[in-house]
């Protein structure tokens, strides 16, 4: 326990160090900048809500990456699955609203986003398992299709009724996720994400199917030799991964945006990868890494009001943090000098 606390403290120290180092490299005054970032991320209820709201899509997509990567399916397609989920949700919204009660429509949109994301990822999974297509390649390409698909949809079949702007019809408030405070954007999707993080943890580490998934990821041949259907497990991992990323899209849609545009995603599905990596592919640790990046987003928005570097800073910090983490891991994993036997 004590060791875990010490390690946690070390991680926090490392993340702050990365932040400070980046500020220095940008030539920004460290003290005032940190104050601005802290203010923006945690300073008041607005800051905390911003942090939580930014962390939510990162957490959900991050969990999706964790599930796939644990099965050694290197899903780079979080973005595509995020958009596929949102698009499916918007399609359901177009037909369900006005027909079904708004609360039901809300649930249907979220369920649709889960299915949409899952199908988008399963396509890549199927190509990999049955046709031997590298998941990295196929998911990247499916990202492009989803991104262009979104552009087409918002100025085509899903465009708002007046057909003036490339946007979908805005959802009525009743079809949105519950908000807790009229002044902030904090919505119930935040709690959905945290509950799912715990659920993914239980799934991976406390169930037999999750155990098999990890065995397949650690050593596929061992899994096969012991009678596990590695192909099915991988396909399932991709489906679950896509479901989580798709749900992230759905939650962002019915939690924040209320309508889709071509710029609907702020690269959430791509940022999921560093989030998952920094969380060491552990669902509970990903809560922390999503919160860290969420706070950075919220804080650097505040910083951006005072320096032009602010808005890009968060991406730089994210990259530096992940590089530092990867370097640390490979340094730890180096073979000890003079291995015996």
């Amino acid at each position: 326990m004590r060791a875990a606390v010490a390690q946690g403290a070390l991680v926090v120290f490392g993340l702050v160090a990365v932040l400070v180092g980046t500020l220095l490299a940008f030539g920004l005054p460290v003290g005032p900048s940190l104050e601005l970032i802290g203010q923006g991320a945690f300073g008041d209820k607005f800051g905390i809500a911003r942090t939580a709201v930014k962390a939510t899509p990162l957490l959900l997509t991050g969990l999706g990456i964790v599930v796939a990567w644990r099965a050694r399916m290197y899903n780079i397609g979080g973005e595509g699955q995020f958009l596929a989920g949102a698009l499916t949700g918007a399609t359901i919204a177009k037909f369900a609203l006005g027909v079904a009660p708004a609360a039901l429509a809300n649930v249907a949109i979220l369920a649709g986003s889960v299915v949409g994301g899952a199908l988008w990822a399963t396509l890549a999974g199927w190509l990999s398992v049955r046709r031997g297509v590298d998941v990295v390649i196929s998911t990247i390409l499916l990202n492009f299709i989803a991104i262009e698909g979104l552009s087409w949809a918002v100025s085509g079949p899903l465009q708002e009724k007046k057909r003036q702007l490339p946007l979908t019809e805005a959802l009525p408030d009743a079809a949105m996720l519950q908000r807790f405070d009229p002044q902030t954007d904090l919505h119930s999707g935040v709690f959905i994400a945290v509950v799912l993080a715990i659920a993914v943890y239980v799934f991976l580490f406390r169930t037999r199917v999750g155990f098999r998934l990890r065995v397949v990821g650690e050593n596929e041949r061992v899994a096969r030799v012991n009678g596990m259907d590695a192909d099915r497990i991988r396909l399932g991992a991709m489906a679950l991964s896509g479901a989580l990323c798709g749900l992230a899209g759905g939650v962002e849609y019915v939690g924040i945006a209320g309508q889709l545009s071509a710029k609907f995603s702020q690269n959430w599905g791509f940022l999921a990868i560093p989030v998952a990596l920094l969380g060491a592919l552990h669902p509970l640790a990903v809560i922390g890494s999503a919160a860290y990046f969420g706070a950075l987003f919220a804080g650097s928005e505040n910083l951006a009001r005072f320096t032009p570097a602010g808005s890009t800073l968060v991406y730089v910090i994210q990259a530096v943090a992940v590089l530092a983490y990867v370097a640390l891991r490979s340094w730890k994993a180096r073979p000890p000098a003079g291995e015996s036997e």
């Binding site: 239980v202 406390r206 169930t207 037999r208 199917v209 155990f211 098999r212 990890r214 065995v215 650690e218 050593n219 041949r221 061992v222 899994a223 096969r224 030799v225 012991n226 009678g227 000098a337 003079g338 015996s340 036997e341």
Partner: protein, 475 residues
């Protein structure tokens, strides 16, 4: 010298001297400290205390490149070749000296190739290393060391991957190198090979030097005693239990990894309560056959039956040849690796959920029963020694009480105690009524365990008669 790794005293005040014109074998079980000893001499490891001197001059410890320049060459157990390079490129790479601005591949590789000719080795300089069989790769590894004309040669477990014929040839080469007046140091744990090649024997046990003797002054029994402290008592062959009809294989054909027909029409009967040994030189289709029997590899043609019916949900236990590639998830814990086979056991599950406490105590019971050396069941399996890793695979396989057990070289790389333990476990599986197919390239192992032995050659099985005849046939 002394060297400590964590809680393990790898070397404990060991002093040894080696004479030119002599093959000096250093023997010991796994973890006895042999590899650490040579690694220090080759400059890869810095000892905690002690020194290494060549002709009275201390060598720079922990500086392998300088040791190489002083004429100390190590032939590594795990080859240090670039797989995608040709033989010539590998040899040139090894011969490169600073400054490396001038690079004449042909010139650099010439001395090594010349040595190959002298040794009567047919080495094709253009062949890519990864396409070559393992025995030929080892020749390249040795040539790298010989090119520099080093007076001191360290061989680390050179025979581990070789066939009997290749071992004979290696012994010839080692003798030739000795006759040129070099110091040849041979690390080994198989007695039979040491007695063929060595002039002098030193034995390490748990990091301590137990004895040094000229070969003529000792005998295998005594050396074995030095190695293990006490001789393992060979388990008496138990009364043959009621044998019964078991596995029946007809005209089995199996494809290898490169699309070749690796198993060409094999007929095989393995009865319950019987150990059928399958011997032969590595790479004659044994692994493919074993994988087909274990239902891991698809077979092209033929029938597999158990007591006249399809295999169905027969409990099959498979101990693969390569424990790291096919047996273990190295980053996972010991208990999780055991769970790989135990995950179907009802008492370890509540619905879809794993029962953590039950799994822990189940794994700890296995660890105790199989005497696996590990602090906690939650420790990663990567940290275990090779022998203990193998025990993890064997324990979880046998604990499941398989009807059909397929084991491929189950004791490769194990020390005597661990090997005889695994042998006992395989025997007790037989006593329990399992049908056992034992694939092994170790003829001693087949002679000791198998009720009858077949011989595999180019994808076909032949009756081997009794084991002694097989030994005679291979020699």
């Amino acid at each position: 010298m002394s060297k400590r790794y964590g809680s393990v005293q790898a070397l404990d005040r060991v002093s040894l001297s080696f004479a030119p014109g002599e093959v000096h074998a250093v023997l010991g079980e796994n973890g006895a400290g042999k590899s650490t000893l040579v690694s220090v001499m080759a400059g890869f490891v810095v000892p905690d205390t002690g020194s290494v001197e060549v002709d009275g001059v201390p060598i720079p410890l922990g500086r392998p490149f300088d040791c190489k320049r002083l004429g100390i060459e190590m032939i590594h157990q795990h080859f240090t070749l670039v797989p995608t390079f040709s033989v010539r490129e590998n040899l040139a790479l090894a011969a490169m000296k600073p400054p490396v601005l001038r690079y004449d591949e042909g010139q650099l590789a010439a001395p090594a190739l010349e040595r190959a000719r002298q040794l009567g080795w047919d080495v094709s300089p253009e062949a890519r290393v990864e396409d070559m069989p393992v025995g030929a790769q080892q020749r390249v590894e040795i040539l790298k060391a010989l090119a520099a004309d080093a007076p001191i040669l360290l061989f680390d477990e050179p025979t581990a991957v070789l066939s009997p014929a290749e071992i004979e040839d290696l012994v010839r080469v080692i003798r030739a190198l000795r006759d040129e007046g070099r110091i040849v140091i041979l690390i080994a744990h198989k007695l039979s090979e040491v007695f063929k090649a060595a002039d002098r024997i030193s034995v390490l046990r748990r990091g301590k030097l137990v004895a040094t003797a000229a070969l003529a002054e000792t005998n295998p029994t005594q050396v074995a005693e030095w190695m293990v402290g006490d001789l393992p008592i060979p388990a008496a062959r138990v009364e043959e239990s009621a044998r019964g009809e078991g596995l029946s294989v007809q005209d089995l054909r199996v494809e290898g990894d490169r699309g070749e027909e690796a198993v060409r029409g094999v007929d095989l009967e393995v009865g319950r309560g019987e150990i059928v040994g399958i011997g032969g030189v590595d790479g004659n289709g044994q692994v493919e056959l074993a994988e087909a029997l274990a239902q891991v590899r698809h077979s092209l043609a033929g029938t597999l039956e158990w007591q006249g019916a399809p295999l169905g949900d027969l409990r099959i236990g498979y101990i693969p040849q390569d424990r790291q590639a096919d047996g273990l998830a190295l980053e996972m814990s010991v208990e999780e690796n055991m769970l790989i086979a135990g995950q179907r056991k009802a008492e370890l599950l509540t619905g879809p959920f794993l029962r953590k406490a039950a799994i822990r105590s189940w794994a700890e019971a296995l660890i105790a029963r199989f005497a696996i050396k590990v602090d906690r069941a939650s420790d990663p399996v990567r940290g275990l020694s090779g022998g203990n890793q193998q025990k993890v695979v064997v324990s979880r396989t046998l604990e499941a009480l398989p009807d059909l057990l397929i084991a491929v070289n189950p004791t490769r790389g194990l020390d005597l105690k661990a090997a005889s333990f695994v042998h006992d476990q395989i025997r007790s599986a037989r006593e329990g009524g399992a049908a056992v197919a034992l694939f092994s390239t170790d003829l001693d192992e087949l002679a000791e365990l198998a009720d009858r032995t077949l011989f595999m050659s180019r994808g076909e099985l032949a009756e081997g008669g009794d084991a002694v005849a097989v030994v005679g046939g291979a020699a």
